[in-house]
């Protein structure tokens, strides 16, 4: 089984982000998508701590820790970018103004429920903007490994981890496939590196529909 690596996954997500899109990239794996956006496409990156038109990381020595992203890492602002306060920033997210958000996940259910904020048990919980993003963007994409480290499917019938949002995920990008959440069920859009559909199905916890041909 020939899985995509993290950069290849990010490049695959980046391919689907069109010119002019307002996009929020979640912390972790989704952050890598920014490195793969084509330079000839104007895409507006939003960061929930209060900026739009986010640019790349600054050169070494140029860091300004008053200019950070949601992961609290130093970033830059593109010409035309803007700063705003938190209530405005979350109005952009909750008010349906973002076209796409890309989030990491522990689990996604067959109906698009998302679990990505808490592993339960006695872990100290932290939620940040995950619940706002999940339900607020026009499209919520999830980007995650297909399987857990112990080989279990992260696409499940029902999430066993605490939910972030209900029926909020529209598309799942894994290291094995791209899968749409549809009213009919989970429809495979693309399988990577020649993995047979039956093998993908065997590895996945819920029934998949074949890509429409």
């Amino acid at each position: 089984m020939d899985k995509l690596n993290r950069d290849q996954m990010a490049a695959r997500v980046a391919r689907d982000i069109p010119e002019g899109a307002y996009v929020n990239l979640g912390i972790g794996l989704p952050t890598l998508v920014a490195n793969h956006l084509p330079k000839d496409r104007e895409i507006f990156l939003h960061s929930e701590n209060g900026l739009l038109g986010m640019g790349p990381a600054p050169a070494a020595g140029e860091e300004d820790y008053d200019l950070i992203n949601a992961g609290k890492q130093p970033v830059t602002l593109l010409p035309g970018g803007a700063y705003f306060h938190h209530a405005d920033s979350f109005a952009m997210m909750r008010g349906g103004h973002l076209d796409i958000c890309v989030l990491g996940a522990f689990q996604v259910s067959a109906t698009g429920d998302l679990a990505n904020w808490h592993t339960g048990g006695d872990a100290i919980p932290a939620v940040g903007g995950a619940m706002d993003l999940a339900i607020g963007a026009k499209k919520t994409y999830v980007m995650m490994e297909h399987l857990t480290k112990s080989g279990e499917s992260k696409i499940v019938a029902h999430c066993s981890y605490p939910l972030t949002g209900i029926a909020c995920v529209s598309r799942i990008y894994t290291d094995l496939a791209v899968i749409d959440v549809t009213a009919d069920g989970l429809r495979v859009v693309e399988i990577f590196n020649g993995l047979p559909f039956d093998e993908l199905q065997r590895l996945t916890g819920v029934p998949l529909l074949k890509e429409s041909t």
Binding site: D66, H85, A123, I124, V127, P162
Partner: protein, 233 residues
């Protein structure tokens, strides 16, 4: 002549009672009013309820206030970070109460308090642990959760520049919660690096109008440091 300028941090914070609810601006280190937090530790109020996005980084600022044992409860969205060891220890020892709030609800609940709104319905969190026990309502075919406003006795915020009427401008993403917190407290204290003459701030560019600000105190500029993430070695 009206002047909201306090001669010192100590003067700006006098009289904050035990048990007060204190909003503290900042997202990680950006916008965290370090001098005002140090002043609050010095001032001595205990049993505080703190409203902040996080729960302190490292051992300074908000983390130092927690470590000093002054905080009974924290209302925040993202307490657990790589450098939140002070909060983590208090939480695990049962010495601090946590009200975990989705970040957008935190901002909007503060905004609601400042705008005189008695609460609002939002889809954020519907069907999750964080909405358990809350009133829900179907509006236009979608499910919403009722969220109540968060008022404060005091807001401590960091701005870049201000004038004697309390008008403020901020610096980059250090703005974050400052403008909404300023609206939601009975006493808003802003630290600024520059105090300007009236009229020097372009009225088209003022972010927080002075009506929301009660005291302005000048502090020396120090560079904001990294906080809240794992630095590459």
């Amino acid at each position: 002549m009206i002047s909201k300028i306090s001669p010192s941090v100590e003067a700006a914070l006098e009289g904050i009672p035990d048990g007060a609810t204190v909003m503290i601006g900042g997202f990680g280190g950006a916008g965290q009013p370090a001098e005002l937090i140090a002043g609050l530790i010095e001032q001595g109020a205990r049993g505080l309820t703190i409203v902040n996005n996080n729960a302190g980084n490292g051992e300074t600022g908000l983390a130092a206030l927690l470590k000093a044992g002054r905080v009974r409860k924290i209302i925040c969205s993202f307490p657990r970070q790589v450098d939140s060891q002070v909060f983590d220890g208090l939480y695990r020892a049962g010495k601090i109460e946590l009200e975990l709030v989705p970040q957008g609800n935190l901002a909007e609940r503060i905004r609601a308090a400042g705008a005189g709104v008695g609460g609002f319905f939002t889809p954020t969190g519907y069907g999750t642990q964080l909405a358990e026990g809350k009133e829900t309502r179907e509006i236009g075919g979608r499910m919403y959760v009722f969220e109540s406003p968060i008022h404060a006795d005091v807001a401590l915020i960091k701005a870049e520049a201000g004038d004697r009427w309390g008008n403020l401008v901020y610096r980059k993403t250090a703005r974050n919660f400052g403008p909404v917190m300023a609206t939601a407290a009975k006493r808003t204290v802003a630290s600024v690096h520059q105090i300007l003459e009236l009229g020097a701030l372009d009225p088209e560019h003022i972010v927080t109008p002075g009506i929301f600000v009660h005291r302005v105190v000048q502090v020396p500029r120090t560079a904001t440091g990294p906080a809240g993430f794992k630095q590459a070695a």
